[in-house]
Amino acid sequence: MSAGSGFDLKIRDGNNEKNTTLPTAPQNFVTPGTIITREPGFMRGHGTYVFKDGSLVASVCGTVERVNKLVTVKGVGGVYNGEVGDVVVGRIVKVMQKRWKVDINAPLEGVLLLSSINLPSGELRRRSAEDELAMREILKEGDMISAEIQSVYNDGTLALHTRSVKYGKLGPGTLIKVPASLIKRRKAHIHNLPIGISVILGNNGYIWISPLANGRMPGTNMEQDETDGQKPVLEEIKITGTDRFAVARIKNCVAALSKAWLPIYDTSLMYSYDCSMKYECKELLKPEALKEIGELVREQMSTEGYMA
């Protein structure tokens, strides 16, 4: 294959692009400004506000949900608002006194306290001044971590923790960002797929794809009795070409699901991976391929009843 032969610039024809496979909007779908009810006596929940004439108005796009007297609008898109227990993938942006600031795609940066991580040596002890000075050796600006949300402060800031072996600093891999609303809350977010690739579906819309188990950097955040004093060396991690193609394929499948606005979890991801096998990895970048995979997955999922 000659170099640069994959290059193609298509001339867009507006008429051919009409999307004919849009799903119909569900019942109770509202847009910002829609009056939900004029009757008094309802409590306003998230996504609603009271207009000056007393009527309840929606402030986001979504479906109206009512529980007794509480009316909420469950938004369809929008920014990520974290809840306790969510698994997130984040990037360290600042190293401060006794804490790290983490970019987790939320309105405010997340906070990871020095006391919320496992010390590299695996000891259980009080953090000292030396620990504070050595913070950059554990996590520095730019590092990727997987963490769980411990609590939410009054102003909405999310406090994270990595006090478990499955969380912590991430090893070689790649990040892809999708809208946060496409990642539904499930029992497990860290999946080690049967193809030898691990995927962390962060609730905040950041997805980490890596050939390592749990996506994690080996030798960091280990159990207390597993430490052997060895510092992990990045250069010793070898990744084969097959693994790289698998990671790239998963990355392109995530892009296909995101473009088709389909929820992303391990089943939909594996469906799309199987559907994508007829294309070469880089052919998945073509818009027709993305569209086809989106449609196939949507069909398969609606027949299996996942679209409820």
Binding site: M144, G173, T174, I239, V247, L285
Partner: protein, 295 residues
């Protein structure tokens, strides 16, 4: 250009991948991302193109005007470039941040079209020393997703290719001066011959290899870039070094050979698109701007 924060592990994964010829999205080192072109993005111009390649998005519009030739070159017309890096494209472009990059790109384009001799500017002259066509090319960067200069050069070539120059039907004598009169017939115009004009191929060096059409992440991992202007027959018209880095002669030779093959391919595809676009434009409702009658 816009640099993003990446972790060591991401850089390691990316750079080692380039070494094994498997990039992060599965492409090889010489593969391009997907792209498309939109005609008539801007209505009040003589021709406009919106080009997208991957995440990078630019709009180019041309306006043809009557002007006087440069006193040093009285028998040639002029093509002027203006690049605007909008702050929406990248946080780096806020305020005056985008100006340095804009100037650099203007310079690369001017060298490619002015000095490389691949476009005959004599065709733009109407009356030597007195009147000539002045083509203003305006470029707006909507989104910077890596490989900006290449996309701009492709869009500029497409836009100049579909630019319609109204034909001069005669001279109107005004106080002894002969002012050109332009045809009012919508279908009487000439196209600019841009078949041989170059397209830029930027090759950042990631690790020990050069890659074609780098994404933002790949550019953030690169040490310097080499930008080559390449004609449809593989001839390299200009080389620019961007960013910090030094190269051995062997590396530059390897990069030149790569740019030559890749660039020829890209340039020929662009030439085919120009033909299709010209047809498309004729079939659509032509609404050209009227030419000013006096300077």
């Amino acid at each position: 250009m816009a640099e993003i924060l990446l972790s060591e592990v991401e850089k390691y994964y990316l750079v080692m991948g380039v070494g094994q010829d498997v990039r992060v999205d599965g492409r090889s080192r010489s593969d391009y991302r997907q792209g498309d072109i939109d005609l008539n993005a801007v209505t009040n111009s003589h021709g406009s193109i919106r080009a997208r390649l991957g995440e990078t998005d630019v709009i180019v519009a041309t306006k043809v005007d009557l002007g006087t030739p440069d006193p040093d070159r009285p028998d040639r017309g002029t093509i002027k470039f203006l690049v605007d890096c909008s702050p929406t494209a990248s946080p780096d472009f806020e305020g005056r941040g985008g100006d340095e990059l804009a100037e650099k790109i203007c310079r690369i384009l001017s060298i490619a079209y002015d000095k490389s001799g691949t476009i005959d500017l004599k065709n733009l002259c109407i009356t030597p020393k007195k009147y000539c066509y002045v083509i203003d090319v305006d470029i707006l960067v909507l989104q910077c997703g890596g490989n900006l200069i290449d996309v701009i050069s492709m869009a500029v070539k497409l836009c100049l290719g579909i630019c319609e120059l109204p034909r001069v039907t005669g001279l109107r004598y005004d106080l002894g001066q002969g002012v050109p009169v332009f045809s009012t017939d919508e279908f009487e115009f000439d196209y600019l011959d841009v078949k041989n004009s170059p397209v830029v191929v930027t090759l950042p060096r990631v690790g020990r290899y050069f890659v074609v059409d780098a994404s933002l992440e790949e550019e953030s991992c690169s040490k310097g870039k080499l930008a080559f202007g390449v004609t449809p027959d593989g001839c390299v018209t200009s080389i620019d070094k961007l960013g910090r880095g030094c190269y051995q002669v062997k590396s530059i030779q390897a990069a030149t050979a790569m740019a030559s093959t890749v660039g020829a391919n890209v340039n020929n595809t662009i030439n085919m698109r120009i033909d299709s676009l010209r047809e498309l434009k004729l079939r659509a409702d032509p609404k050209p701007l009227s030419m000013p009658m006096d300077i």
